[in-house]
Symmetry: C2
Subunit: 199 residues, 2 copies
């Protein structure tokens, strides 16, 4: 009979199911729980259940929130004439870290990808169109990823939105700030030359 | 006001308190919880609480167990005349993985370390001596770590145990199996020559 402490093995296997956590790390994490006071495990457990139960998608922009509307949609100070369309809730956080953008967002929850069986109907495009029909939106920034799928999604949505008389823009392509030109790929460099600005 | 989803931030900070988990990884792990069905978070939470509540130290050997006695102490097939003394419950698991050792264990939960204010009284040495006084133990294997603290602990305990007429042994020092002699340190090599065996 192999040496086995059931509740420990169970905890290790839960940690192991997390992305990027292997058997050894899972063991180390499980032991760290055993070494701490029971209140820590209790708090961790509550945080897990709380996060999973309370967080859902914002009724308007489909980003993550624990309220009915997310913090951004319910902030009266944001510019309601501009919507930044992103693929993932994490992208909203990335843009918010810049502290530059003051408009609203719309999260598609994916990008059009026929190979993965994801068509426009699997994305939150209907919800975007509904927002456009009854609001004073003047510009849509397509901020989907700079990949084939992101491009396809951006051009699909721009074809839907343009007839409404709303301006559609796309994030600028170019060399990343702080990057080294030597290591930039040819596609990025070509786009950076194409989009050059006068200084 | 910074963008903040309270239950998510709370979960991220719980992950961040685990050893070796930084801010970015904590975010990734927290998002993976949100992306999975609520039952997964529930199971994870239960495993955390269960492990912390049910696992305690074996009444006899001080290893981890969810029963009164651990699996090894309550196994009638184990050789009760020999006790392997280790510093940490993880060491028991390491020895069990060898599938070679058939005796019992005793976990000290540390090693004597004056610099960290850990003296013999902070270790489970009393419990070891109690086990020796009323059982048929013939040999103690000192399997503390090959460090200054581990050595000090081994020699302290051997001085206590020898007067009882019980044989005290120490793990062999030498080159690790599969290792490369070129990279072995001089202390290990010196001990390996000292402990050489006829072939």
């Amino acid at each position: 009979m192999a040496y086995n402490i059931v509740p420990l093995t169970e905890l290790v296997s839960q940690f192991e199911r997390l992305p990027g956590i292997g058997k050894k790390t899972a063991f180390r994490l499980a032991f760290s729980i055993l070494e701490q006071p029971p209140e820590r495990a209790q708090k961790f457990a509550e945080a897990l259940i709380n996060a999973r139960e309370k967080i859902h998608f914002c009724k308007s922009c489909q980003a993550l929130t624990d309220g009915e509307l997310c913090q951004i949609c319910s902030d009266e100070a944001r510019d309601r004439s501009i919507i930044c369309v992103v693929e993932d809730p994490k992208d909203v956080m990335a843009f918010e870290r810049t502290r530059e953008y003051k408009g609203l967002y719309h999260v598609l929850h994916g990008a059009i990808s026929p190979l993965d069986n994801i068509g426009p109907d699997q994305l939150r495009i209907k919800e975007l169109m509904a927002r456009l029909s009854d609001s004073a939106v003047e510009e849509i920034i397509m901020a989907t990823n700079p990949t084939v799928e992101g491009e396809a999604t951006a051009s699909y949505i721009s074809r839907l939105v343009k007839p409404l008389g709303i301006k559609v823009t796309r994030l600028a392509y170019g060399v990343p700030v702080g990057g080294d030109l030597e290591y930039a790929d040819e596609f990025t460099l070509a786009r950076a030359i194409e989009g050059r600005n006068e200084i």
